[in-house]
């Protein structure tokens, strides 16, 4: 799943550790999400969206039918 977490995080001038602490996961988890190696749970996706005060679809773009749309 494509995402804009890094863009939002950098715009907010946060380190991966800061964002991880804010949403209650490890820094490695934020790193894995940004590198699109791990898709967060719905709960964490909502938490990230709430933290950045945006919609989930602003942060995450699902890969449909196996292709990036």
């Amino acid at each position: 799943m494509n995402n804009e977490v890094r863009t939002y995080r950098e715009a907010a001038d946060l380190s991966q550790g800061d964002l991880a602490a804010a949403v209650g996961v490890s820094r490695q988890t934020i790193n894995a999400i940004e590198r699109e190696r791990y898709d967060p749970s719905l709960e964490l996706a909502f938490e990230l969206a709430a933290y950045f005060d945006c919609q989930i679809e602003d942060l995450f773009e699902p890969t449909l039918n196996g292709t990036n749309e």
């Binding site: 550790g17 991880a20 602490a21 209650g24 490890s26 791990y38 933290y51």
Partner: protein, 146 residues
Amino acid sequence: MSEPITSGRQQLEQRNRYRRLMNVSLWGGIAGLFVATLIWVFVPDDLIVFAGVGVYWLGFVGYLAIWKGTCETLFDEREQAMELKASGLTLGVLAYVVVFGVPGMVVLSATGTYTVPSAIWDALVGYVGVFVLFAIAYTYVQYTHS
């Protein structure tokens, strides 16, 4: 630094503290068993090795007590997902061993082509037991998720 980040950092530090304690407990138990066994080699008193096993159990119980006793989430969702995936991969490998191994061993033994060592038989029976356990666990999870 904003309030959610500060309190989040404190929570992560607390989580790391608990995890360090769990590791100390577990590895302390393992070290205790190792040392007791080592002493037992030179001083053959059975009490020593029993005490070693006791220390090992205590270490493991300590690990579980911290893990289950705290209200902190000690492993985040990615770590839980990794554990789930690794478990699935392990079961997948065992499935291949059971699916191909068991009928092959039965045929080899029945035809007298090859005498399968009892250790291999025992291992395969153990693997089949793992799948029986998996089926029970799956049924339970299915029941609780329906």
